[in-house]
C-alpha cells in the first residue's frame, strides 16, 4: 500500500517537522532564510522560515520563536529530535537571504537584513555543532524550497533560473 505524499507547508516566520515519504516546503523566500535540519537515517526533517536575525529586535510582548534565527534553530532541533532525529546525526541545508532591492541612499541596517539573517543562522547551527551540507544564499532573487527527508534532497526554485537540486 503506497502512502499519499503530502507537502507540509511552512509559512512566513513559521516552522514544521516532517517524516518521509512526505516533503516540506516554504514559498517566496526573499531576505528570509529557509533552514532545514534533518536526520537522513531516521528520514525526519524540520524546516523554519526565519525572518529576522535576532530576537532582541523584537518589540512585542508575545514571542514567535520561529521568526528569529537565535530562537528558531534551537526550537527546530528540539522538534526534530522529538520526531525521532538523533543528536549528533543532524545535518543542515539552507537557502535564501537575498537582497531583493538595491538602494543608493538611505540604506539602514534593516535594509541589509538578508545577509544578516544568513550570518545569524550560520552562527546558530555552529553553536549546536550541526554541519551545513549545502547552501544557496545571497543574490537578489526570491526562492521557493522543498526538502525530501527520504533522500536529503533540497529543491530550489528561482524565477528565470529553473529548479536546482542540492
Amino acid at each position: 500500500m503506497s502512502e499519499i505524499v503530502q507537502v507540509v507547508k511552512v509559512g512566513i516566520a513559521d516552522m514544521n517537522v516532517v517524516k518521509a515519504p512526505h516533503v516540506i516546503r516554504t514559498c517566496g523566500l526573499g531576505s528570509c532564510v529557509g533552514v532545514v535540519v534533518y536526520d537522513l537515517v531516521k528520514e525526519v526533517a524540520g524546516m523554519a522560515h526565519v525572518m529576522l536575525p535576532d530576537s532582541s529586535l523584537a518589540k512585542s510582548e508575545t514571542m514567535n520563536v520561529a521568526k528569529y534565527a537565535d530562537t528558531a534553530i534551537e526550537e527546530l532541533i528540539r522538534r526534530v529530535i522529538g520526531a525521532g532525529g538523533r543528536n549528533g546525526h543532524l545535518k543542515a541545508k539552507m537557502a535564501g537571504g537575498a537582497q531583493m532591492f538595491q538602494f543608493r541612499t538611505g540604506t539602514t541596517d534593516m535594509m541589509r537584513i538578508g545577509p544578516r539573517n544568513v550570518e545569524a543562522v550560520r552562527e546558530q547551527l555552529q553553536r549546536f555543532r550541526i554541519p551545513i551540507v549545502a547552501e544557496d544564499v545571497g543574490g537578489n532573487s526570491g526562492r521557493t524550497i522543498e526538502f525530501h527527508p527520504k533522500t536529503g534532497m533540497l529543491l530550489i526554485r528561482t524565477v528565470n533560473q529553473g529548479v536546482r537540486e542540492m
Binding site: 512566513i12 526573499g30 531576505s31 518589540k59 508575545t62 531583493m100 532573487s141 526570491g142 526554485r157
Partner: protein
C-alpha cells in the same frame, strides 16, 4: 496583538480614507498617462497575518512585477505597487508603443525603466496627496523594481512590522483597466506604515489614540 487592539473603527476608517485619497490620485495619474480609464476598488484596510497578505496577490510564490519605495519623513513606511505580469506587460506595451512586447523575451533597460517610471509617478502622486491631506512631510525614496515571487518582494516590506507582531496593517487599493474582466484584479497599491507611524498619522488628523 495588544498593539492592534487599540485600533478602533474610527482609525480603520481614517486609514481607508488615506487609501482612497492616495490611490485615487494615483489612478487618475495612471489614466492620464495611458489615456485609459483606470478604475479602483474601495480601499480595504485589514489586520492580517503575513501569509494572508501574500494570498491577496496569489500566494507567496506567485511571480509579479512590483515597484517598492521607502517612505521617509514624518511617518515612515513602505509602499508597493504590485502588478500581475500580464498587466505589467500591457502597461509597458502602451508606454513604449510596442504591442508585441513580452517581459519574458525582452527585459531591456528601456522597458524596465518605463515600468519603474510608472511606479515612480504613481507612488509619487499617492504620497503627495497623502502629504497634503495630513500636512505631514513624506518623501519617497528612489523606487526599486523587482519581477519576482511576491513573498520575496513583500517580505521586505514586512520586516519593520514583524518586530512588533505577526500581523500587519495593510491599506490595500486594487486598480484595473475599465472593461477588463473584474474577476481578475490586476494591480494593487499597498501602504504599510511603520508601527510608530500610525499614531503620527492619527494625531496629524486629530484622532489621537489613547496610549
Amino acid at each position: 496583538m495588544s498593539y492592534f487592539e487599540r485600533m478602533d473603527a474610527v482609525h480603520m476608517d481614517i486609514l481607508k480614507e488615506i487609501g482612497n485619497i492616495g490611490a485615487g490620485h494615483a489612478a487618475t495619474a495612471l489614466s492620464k498617462l495611458l489615456n485609459k480609464r483606470i478604475e479602483m476598488t474601495i480601499p480595504d484596510v485589514r489586520i492580517i497575518s503575513f501569509d494572508e497578505m501574500m494570498d491577496i496577490v496569489g500566494g507567496a510564490d506567485n511571480v509579479v512585477a512590483a515597484v517598492f519605495l521607502r517612505i521617509e519623513g514624518d511617518a515612515p513606511g513602505n509602499m508597493f505597487f504590485v502588478l500581475s505580469i500580464e498587466q505589467a506587460e500591457r502597461f509597458i506595451q502602451q508606454m513604449i508603443g510596442d504591442e508585441q512586447f513580452k517581459l519574458e523575451q525582452d527585459c531591456s533597460e528601456l522597458s524596465l525603466s518605463a515600468l519603474q517610471e510608472l511606479g515612480n509617478i504613481l507612488a509619487g502622486s499617492y504620497l503627495s496627496s497623502l502629504s497634503d491631506f495630513t500636512h505631514l512631510n513624506l518623501y519617497p525614496s528612489v523606487p526599486a523594481l523587482s519581477i519576482d515571487m511576491i513573498g520575496a518582494i513583500l517580505g521586505y516590506g514586512l520586516i519593520e512590522m514583524s518586530r512588533v507582531g505577526d500581523h500587519v496593517i495593510v491599506v490595500d487599493t486594487a486598480i484595473h483597466e475599465e472593461h477588463q474582466p473584474n474577476d481578475r484584479v490586476n494591480g494593487h497599491f499597498f501602504l504599510l506604515p511603520d508601527p510608530e507611524s500610525f499614531h503620527i498619522i492619527f494625531r496629524a488628523l486629530g484622532v489621537d489614540r489613547d496610549e
